[in-house]
């Protein structure tokens, strides 16, 4: 079995740096992390210095994702030896139990941490994750709401809540959670865009108008966000065709939709570079936009 360093012609420093990038940007490419991380640990542990502990943690979680209990146990063992009695390591032990579907034992482990330290957010979030894994969405949502009452600034938690609500088709509450995120992160185009999608899904002319505004806002924040561009096109088209809209609103929206359509076409042309496959895509997009052309009444 060829080693990663042989196959991709990389040095151990590059492997370590890649792991750091994946860690900092929160990637969940677990198979790759296991491949690179396992080799780094086995062949180059002595060169890593203090980095090795955070790498053990990262590789352990990725190993759980890939059902590599052998590797996870090895990493956990090294961390337990080095950081005896640590809550952070105990949480990892709990995650391993979760991966083995031994939820009751994991639950108990997290409760032990919380008894020692009632402000330990990691343990509380793992308990909510267990509820989610068991399909107990209503309880997970309830616990997450309680958690957020105490830890109002936890972005990750607000986003998780929004997604739980979307999965339960409770779009109004999802919108509320995303509003919290947008308030604290006004420059994040992804939150804007997802909020617009939720509003669109809720439906009705007012929500469509809001959705169009937020798609436009997302586009302003990042003019390469294709979802925002498509969303702007769709919402403006629907409003332009809606019997409930006034003549002026309809006229304005038909203009917005036409602008969005031209931008979409332009984006596809830029991406095209004349390959046969993307030519098909471009043609399909052109035809789709033509067929959806809303004529002003």
């Amino acid at each position: 079995m060829a080693s990663v360093s042989d196959m991709y012609d990389v040095t151990w420093e590059e492997m370590r740096d890649k792991l750091r990038k994946w860690r900092e940007e929160n990637y969940r490419n677990s198979e790759q992390i296991v491949e690179v991380g396992e080799e780094l640990i086995q062949e180059h542990a002595s060169k890593l210095g203090d980095d090795i502990w955070i790498i053990y943690e990262q590789v352990m979680i990725a190993a759980l994702d890939c059902s590599r209990d052998d590797l996870a146990t090895t990493c956990l063992h090294e961390l337990k030896k080095q950081f005896q009695g640590s809550h952070r390591v105990k949480r990892l032990a709990g995650m391993r139990l979760e991966a083995l579907e031994r939820y009751d034992e994991a639950f108990k482990m997290y409760n032990d941490i919380l008894q020692d330290d009632s402000t330990n957010t990691a343990a509380r979030k793992r308990k909510i994750a267990i509820l989610k894994a068991q399909g107990k969405s209503t309880e997970a949502i309830r616990e997450l709401n309680e958690y957020l009452e105490q830890f109002v600034g936890d972005q990750e938690a607000w986003h998780e809540l929004a997604e739980l609500y979307i999965n339960e088709h409770d779009y109004a509450k999802a919108a509320f959670s995303l509003e919290e995120l947008m308030m604290t992160n006004p420059h994040n185009h992804l939150y804007c865009e997802q909020y617009a999608e939720v509003k669109y899904t809720q439906g009705g002319i007012e929500n469509l108008e809001l959705s169009r505004k937020y798609f436009a806002q997302a586009l302003k924040l990042n003019n390469r966000n294709m979802r925002a561009l498509f969303g702007l096109y769709m919402s403006a088209s629907h409003i332009g065709a809606s019997p409930k809209a006034s003549a002026k609103v309809k006229k304005d929206n038909v203009k917005y939709a036409a602008w969005a359509a031209s931008q979409i076409n332009r984006a596809y042309q830029l991406a095209g570079h004349g390959t046969k496959e993307t030519k098909c895509s471009l043609k399909a997009v052109e035809e789709m936009l033509e067929s959806m052309q809303i004529m002003p009444s």
Partner: protein, 201 residues
């Protein structure tokens, strides 16, 4: 009741999509050739277009995808014949409200549309059993079809090729509509994977 069958290409791409994002829910469309069928002839889904991964239950991108793929279908004499979904949780194999809505929308255009749920627990390297459940529309409800009816045109071929694709980690290069929206150059028709499947046949 018309029976739905999948070609190897449709089945494999669908499962590759699920394999690429094991921690997410995924969904997509199935397309069939648009032709008159004789009575009793099964609907053959010849290809699959993977759509999204992660948060599925939002309308706008789904509408775009349906419209765009419908246009593409017309150019290629296909018709959208089904919708598949793999839920986030391994043990959750029933369709949710969103899945039923999308499938119902497809059925408006193609009365024998199928709703296919991927059975996550049956996905394995060896591919011993077909990892899907087919739901058909009866009396306004989606009912699960008898599992003993063969869902693939040629199960042993599909099984062999699926296993080879998983070993090769072909799912790493599978493109879904989400990937396309991230970068328009990504081709959701997956011509390279189609070639690999043809080559393995």
């Amino acid at each position: 009741m018309t029976v739905i069958k999948l070609t190897t290409q449709a089945y494999c791409k669908m499962l590759l999509h699920a394999a690429k994002y094991p921690h997410c829910a995924v969904n997509g469309l199935l397309v069939a050739e648009n032709q008159k069928r004789k009575d009793g002839q099964p609907v053959l889904c010849v290809d699959c277009v993977p759509l999204f991964h992660g948060t599925l239950a939002l309308a706008p991108m789904m509408e775009i995808a349906l419209t765009l793929i419908d246009t593409w279908c017309k150019e290629n004499k296909y018709v959208i014949a089904g919708y598949y979904q793999a839920n986030e949780r391994i043990k959750e194999t029933r369709p949710n409200q969103f899945a039923e809505k999308v499938a119902a929308r497809i059925a408006e255009n193609f009365s024998e549309a199928a709703l296919i749920m991927v059975d996550n627990s049956n996905i394995s390297m060896g591919c011993y059993d077909p990892a899907i459940s087919v739901f058909e529309h009866h009396d306004n409800k989606w009912k699960c079809r008898d599992a003993s009816i063969d869902c693939c045109e040629d199960w042993s071929e599909a099984q062999k090729i699926m296993s080879a694709l998983l070993e090769d980690r072909s799912y790493d290069s599978l493109i879904d509509f989400d990937n396309h929206l991230d970068d328009l150059r990504n081709d959701w028709t997956n011509p390279e994977i189609n070639k690999s499947i043809l080559y393995l046949c």
